[in-house]
Structures are given as structure tokens and as C-alpha cells.
Amino acid sequence: MTTLLGPIGSALNKRGLTLAMALALVVLVAAPLATILVQTLYPSSAAWGDVLASRLSQNLFWRPTINTMIIGLGVAAGCVLLGGFLAWLVVMTDIPGRPAIAFMATLPFMIPSFATALAWGTVFRNGRVGGGGGLLEGLGFAVPDWLSWGMTPTIVVLIAHYYSLAFTVIAAALATVNGDLVEAAQMTGASRKRILFGIVLPVVTPAIIAGGSLAFAGAVSNFAAPALLGLPVRMQTLSTRLFGMIEIGQTERGYVLAILLIGISAIFLGLGNRMLSGRRSFATIGGKGAKPRCFALGGARLPLTMAAWVICILTTILPILLLVAASLAPSSLSLFSDWTLHYWIGSSDPAFARGQPGIFHNPLLLSALTTTLILGASVALAANIIGILIAVALTRQKVPVLSNLVSQLSFLPMLLPGIAFAAAYIALYGAPIGPLPALYGTKLLLALALTAAMLPFAVQTGRATVSQISGDIDEAARMTGAGFFRRLGAITLPLAARGLAAGLLITFVNVIGDLAITILLYTPTSPLLAVLSYSYASDGFHQFANAVTLVILIISMLATGAATLLRGRRRQSFT
């Protein structure tokens, strides 16, 4: 039974795989983070002073930080309210069409936040910063600045994007209180209000905190929304400032901002965690008899149903429809007249759109499309292969210390704002390391950073698929004498194929919708679709930006749909 892989395989059988994965994670995750810290301290730590305590620090750090915090807290509160409201309706009441609402409420997260931000602009933009007004101005309303630009629209757009997170977490928690726990309280004669505040809310609190801190972390690291809606009126957040610093070559200051951004997001995620671990594990005892009972809404049923559908449609279908209209209408003031396909397929015409050809005549678009697809596919593949290897290593080989390190490092990118993570990659791989050439400006660097950023999700998928296959099945194969790789290929992978394929597609969707990492690391000669859309938008070519965004959305929707089909309908459990 000696195969070529025999010796390697048997070495890997013991602890080699864990070791290899630990090394990969150090290169992909730990090293860039260490470098960014080191580079702000050596040879000089002046950047820290500049950012934190100098005449510039007001503009460099404090104001962006305050803006970031307001956005984070506002978005967290909004997401908990909106997500919690929908979760309550779906889980605890007799509202009609609950599975449909539950499905719709998970969709907004699949729509890239720059798409929602652009859609906001099509309606609420005013002409103040050029590029023409939006639909409301076209209808004759004077749209005030606070509604067109800056804080309010950023917060609203981000809530519309992130409330899905809070919904998912809170709905899961509510499903555990529903049924017997509430009825046990009803038996005592407690009033509805008392049951809500004495039983339901306390049991759901951990989920509310978890949902809120996830939304907070997402909002403070988001780049697209504040960049598209805030930058035109000079509202800076930490992520836009960080981007600006790197763009104008003040990289050390940018690195300092990156570290601070990581710090803020980590503090809040950590606080959420602490509040959770301080409490007892609220796992409820399931079993037969815990049948969910739905609370009759009575007269409030119709208005609440309407409210739920309005929320779902406003955050999913409407933005997409607005983008479609806005990619066809020559004047942003009247979205529904004089539609033309020029912005999609027209050739250059000096009388039209300052001579810009339609996106399918822009050679950059075609190259961006292929680059995006290839990059998305290869990153998805790489991240998931590493993900499954890590999952195998973690479940099959328990190595003291090393296993723990692998598990922690693979989860770390989840806590890191994408743009700060990208900055760390520039810090480490931007300059030649020994014989290795500098990777800055190459697609390889972008691919590496995206792969690392996707790891937490990929590892989770990997773990789910690996745990689906019980140890027994693997052991049965082992009894036949098959080596490690042989078992992986012949037993583990075929069994896990569906789950893996779905995981691949979701990773792919996340990659092509990412702007925070790509905006710092893309190669100017062949940008990605998301970057192209962003640069069209910042140059004021909104129709083109919308058209490119729609291309991304169509690809995303196809991939998401395929993933949903592959996963089957098991995930919708709110019937």
C-alpha cells in the first residue's frame, strides 16, 4: 500500500496539516498585521503623534472618529430595531407570508452597499456637488443637504444593508423563547407587557447585543457608503480618511488610522462579547412539546403586514429598480423618461455624456469584467480549499496550542475592517521582501488579501461540511488502508460537494461585491467592476456607475440563487 503520497500523507496524518495551516495563516493574516504595527513605530513613530496629537489631528483623527462612532451607533440601533421588529413579526405572530418575509429580510446583505448608496442618490441627490439632482429634485422638491449627503443618508443606507444580520440573529433567539417559555409565564397570569419585559426581552438580549455589535462593526468599517454619500461634502470617516492618506502617499499616517480603526471595531465587538459571556448560557431545553404558538395580531395585522413588506421592498427590490431606471435615463431628474441604452451599449458621441461611450464599449469594462470573474473564482476556490483544510485539521488533528492558534487566526479577519486589512497588506508586501519582488499593484496581492479576508466564512463552511461527514465514515475508509489525500478525495469531498459548492458561490458573491479591500489594492491597468463603478460615480457619471453596479448585481443574484438551490430549502425554518 505504498503510494507516492504515502510518506507525505502519513506525516500529514499526524500534525503536518495543522502545522502547514498555521504557517499559511501566519503569512496571510498575522504577518501583515504585525508589519503595519511595526512600520508605524520604526524607524520613526512620528505618524502616531501626527494623527493623535498635532494641529492636524482634529481633521485627521478626531472628527472622522466622531463621525465613525455616530454612524456605528446609529446603524447598530437602527438595525436592532428594524431587524428585531421583522424577527418578532416572523417568529412570534400570525402575520401572513412569514417564510417570504423571512427570505426577503436576508437578501439586503447580498446587495453590495455601494449599490444601495447609488440607489439613494438616484432619488435624494441634489445638484449641490454637480452631476445633477435626483428624482425628488426633478419632481420640484428642494432636497436639503442633510437628506442628500453626509450622515443621514449614510446611516440609512447602512441600516438597509446590515439589518439582515440583526434579523437573522434575533429571529433565531426568538424562536427559542417562543412556545413553552411564554406559555409558562402566561400560566402565572402575567400581563403581556410583563411577559415581554420579564421573559422575552431578557432571553433575547444576548442576541440583540450580538446583532447590534455585528452591525456596528460592519458600519464602522464600511467604505462605500460614506465615500459615495459623505466625501462629496467632505464628511470623513476613519475608513475614508485612511483611504485618502494612502492615496496621497502618506502611508504611515494611513497605517496608524488603520490600527485605530481595527481597535475601535475590536473594542465594540469585545464589549458585546463580554456582556454575553457574563450571562449564563441561555440554551433552552428543546424537545417535544416546545411547539411554537403564534400570537394573533388582530386589528394590527394589516398595517403591520404592510410595514413589513414596505421594509422588505424598500431594501431589496426598490433599490434595484431605481438603479435600472437610472442607468437608462439621460437626465437624473426624470428617471422614467427618454430611456436610452446609450449608457450600456452606445458608442462615443461628443454630444452625449461628454463623449463617454456605453459601458460595453469601454475596453476597461470588458477587462474589468473578466478580471472580476477570474479573481472572484480563484479567490473563492483558494479560500475554500484552505478553509476545508483548516476545518479538517481542526476536527481530525488536535495539536495543543497550534490548533488553537489556527482556529483564532482563521477567525481574526472577521474582526478586521476590510480597508484596514488592505492597508496591512500594502505595509507588508508593498516593498520587496528579500528576493521576493514587491507585490503592490499586482493582482496577486489583491487575491491574497481577499483570500485572507474570506477565510472566516470559508472555514465555517468547511467545518459544517466536514462535521456533516461523521468520523465513522472516514474511519471506515481508513480501515481499508487509504491514505489521507486519497480519503479526502474519494470520501470527504464527494460527500461534502453540495455544501462546498454553495460556500464557493457565497464567497464569490462577497468578493465581487467588495469595495473596501479592492479600492486600495486594485491594479490601475485592470480595475475590478466595483472599482470601476466607484470611479464612474466619483467622476459624476452616474448612469455608467449604475449600469456597472447592475452588472455586478446580476452576477451576484445568479450566484446567490444557485447557492440557495444547492443548499436546498432546509435553511428556511420560519414556517
Partner: protein, 346 residues
């Protein structure tokens, strides 16, 4: 104390409970026994006030608690009833003491008395050491005791249990059975207890209602269920081992062995395991069977064989020969005969 009159509960077009009437005196221990899906939980939830009957009347003592015809229904808290859920339904964010105290708080008892009651019930069930733990930090059996303590602390006149022991392992079950009876005796409340475990029913009940398909097949004292089953369903459901129901056709056992005692009847004859003997040789009323299993029990053996596709169990003093074949001898008279619909005819 509890009396039901033609209670029916329907979900859509199907009846989960149909036309149930019975009454039990104060202090009795009523067990609702039946297979899964027969409507036991639905009955209990109507007694608790969590569901309303579609039609029929329900009284606790002199109080009309629910009337499906007028839609009148007393809310759960005003019925002076407590319910132990199968899942225990302990509130995970409150300590053991907190769980027991909360219903008393809702009932607006003064602090002093609350404390005394919590202590009293915790001592009664031997869980005073767990007072400050959370439900997630105690074992299943302990959770069960906490659920029981929480239910009895407000001193309900009616105690309701929905399969409270089914999540426990066998030894704990026996122990908790005893514990429950103790609590019942100490409080003097009327208990209604749902189970599909007939051993629980036989050991605990003063009254048993055997349910099937939403109807009561028999309402009786436990020993009467064994002695005088009212239907084939009851005969085949109760007893350890349950009695044999042997098909008869025109006065012939298995449709092949004529016997004048069967008087030409068709349906099933009930023959208890202790009435059947293992015979050494062929004779009147004997038949051959293929040995299926031998279970030692209390110094004797339950010998089960398969004849004409039916499992027949007999009690025997010696182990059957391991030849794989054996012979059973039927008694001279069956204990009961049921017609094809399962109704008792003699």
C-alpha cells in the same frame, strides 16, 4: 372537582379531541393515557386555559372555567391551576430561586411570604443547594424538580403535567414518580397527568382515561382497566405484558381451530399471558409457534412465539427448549371477546 361535558376541540376540519366527558373528585390523580397524537396534550392545554374548547363545558368545582358554546373562558391564571411542561420551560435567564419566585411576584405576594414559600418548596424537593444556579447549569433531573417546585409554589388546586418524565432516564423516572406522588399527597390538589407510558399510569393514577383518536376509550380505575378492558384497544394497550388479542373467525381460533366456547363469534379474543401455558405435546387447544424471544421477569419467563403471523406471549416457569419450535395451550375460556370493531361483546 374537575368535570367535563362533551368537550370537543377541532383544528380546521379535524377533531383533536371529540366529545369527551368525565368527572373526577377533589384530590384524585387522573392520568390521560394514550398513543402519540391522540389528543392528550390538547386536553391538558384546554384544562390549563391555553386553548379553548370548540364546544362543551368544563368545570372546576362549582366554577365554570370554559364553555365552548358561549366562548366563555377563564384565563389560565384565574383557574388556580399549574402546569409542568414536557420541556420544563424554565426561564433560562433566572436562577432556580428566581424561576420559583417569579409566579409569586406576579401574584403580588409580599416579599416575606414569597421567600418562605420558595424555601419551603425547594426543601420539599431537595433543591435548596441549587437556589443560585441557572437552569443551564443543572442536570435534567434537577431541572425537572425545579419545574415541579415552580408549579407548586403558588399552591394550585389543580396540577397539570404534560409527560413530565419522558426526558429522564429510567432510574430517575422511578424516583421522580415517587416524588410526584409525595407532592400530590402533601398538597391535596387534583392532578391531571399526561403520559403514554402505561406503567406510570398504573402506578400513579386513581383514575385513568385511555384515549385514542381524540376519544376516551375507557375511563376507570387502573385495576379495572386490566380486569375489565372496555375495548380491544385498551386490552392491547395496558398491562405488562399486554394481553394477547387472538383473532377469531366464526368460532375458530385463528380461523382454523374450532372451539365451542367461542360461540361462533368473530373478532378478537383476549387471553392473558398467564392463562396460556407452554405445552409439551399436542392436545386440545394447543398450537405450534416459532419461538421469538424469552424474557426473564421476576423469577419467571415471558415466552413469545409467532403463530399465524401473530405474536403470542405466555408466562412460563421453565425456559422453552431452544429447538426454535414450541407449543402453546390456550385456556378453556378467553377473558374477553371483542367484535371486529373492537367493542367488547363478552
Amino acid at each position: 372537582m374537575i368535570s367535563l361535558e362533551n368537550i370537543t376541540k377541532s383544528f380546521g376540519n379535524s377533531n383533536a379531541v371529540s366529545n369527551v366527558s368525565f368527572s373526577v373528585p377533589e384530590g384524585s390523580f387522573l392520568v390521560l393515557l394514550g398513543p402519540s397524537g391522540c389528543g392528550k396534550s390538547t386536553m391538558l392545554r384546554m384544562l390549563a386555559g391555553l386553548d379553548q374548547p370548540t364546544s362543551g363545558k368544563m368545570q372546576f368545582g362549582d366554577t365554570l372555567v370554559a364553555d365552548g358554546n358561549t366562548g366563555h373562558s377563564l384565563p389560565p391564571a384565574d383557574r388556580n391551576a399549574g402546569l409542568v411542561f414536557q420541556s420544563y420551560a424554565l426561564w433560562p435567564h433566572m436562577t432556580v430561586a428566581g424561576n420559583i419566585e417569579w409566579p409569586l411576584k406576579v401574584a403580588k405576594l409580599p416579599t416575606e411570604e414569597r421567600r418562605a414559600r420558595v424555601l419551603e418548596v425547594m426543601e420539599m424537593l431537595g433543591i435548596e443547594k441549587l437556589a443560585n444556579r441557572y437552569p443551564g447549569e443543572i442536570s435534567g433531573g434537577q431541572q425537572q424538580r425545579v419545574a415541579l417546585a415552580r408549579m407548586i409554589a403558588p399552591r394550585p388546586k389543580v396540577m397539570l403535567f404534560d409527560e413530565p418524565l419522558s426526558n429522564l432516564d429510567a432510574t430517575l423516572r422511578v424516583e421522580m414518580r415517587f416524588e410526584l406522588l409525595k407532592v400530590h399527597a402533601a398538597t391535596g390538589a387534583t392532578a391531571v397527568y399526561v403520559t403514554h407510558d402505561q406503567v406510570e399510569a398504573m402506578t400513579m393514577a386513581t383514575h385513568v382515561a385511555v384515549m385514542n383518536n381524540g376519544r376516551i376509550e375507557q375511563f376507570d380505575a387502573p385495576d379495572r382497566l386490566l380486569a375489565e378492558p372496555a375495548s380491544a384497544f385498551v386490552a392491547g394497550f395496558v398491562g405488562t405484558p399486554a394481553a394477547n388479542l387472538i383473532p377469531i373467525e366464526n368460532g375458530k381460533w385463528f380461523g382454523t381451530m374450532p372451539d365451542p366456547l367461542l360461540r361462533d363469534q368473530s373478532g378478537h379474543a383476549m387471553v392473558r399471558a398467564e392463562q396460556i401455558t407452554v405445552a409439551d405435546e399436542d392436545g386440545p387447544r394447543t398450537f405450534e409457534a416459532v419461538l421469538a424471544e424469552v424474557v426473564p421477569m421476576a423469577g419467571r419467563f415471558l415466552v413469545t412465539g409467532i403463530a399465524h403471523g401473530i405474536r403470542i406471549t405466555a408466562v412460563s416457569d421453565q425456559v422453552a427448549r431452544p429447538s426454535g419450535k414450541l407449543r402453546f395451550r390456550l385456556p378453556s375460556a378467553p377473558a374477553a371477546i371483542f367484535d371486529k370493531q373492537g367493542t367488547r361483546i363478552s
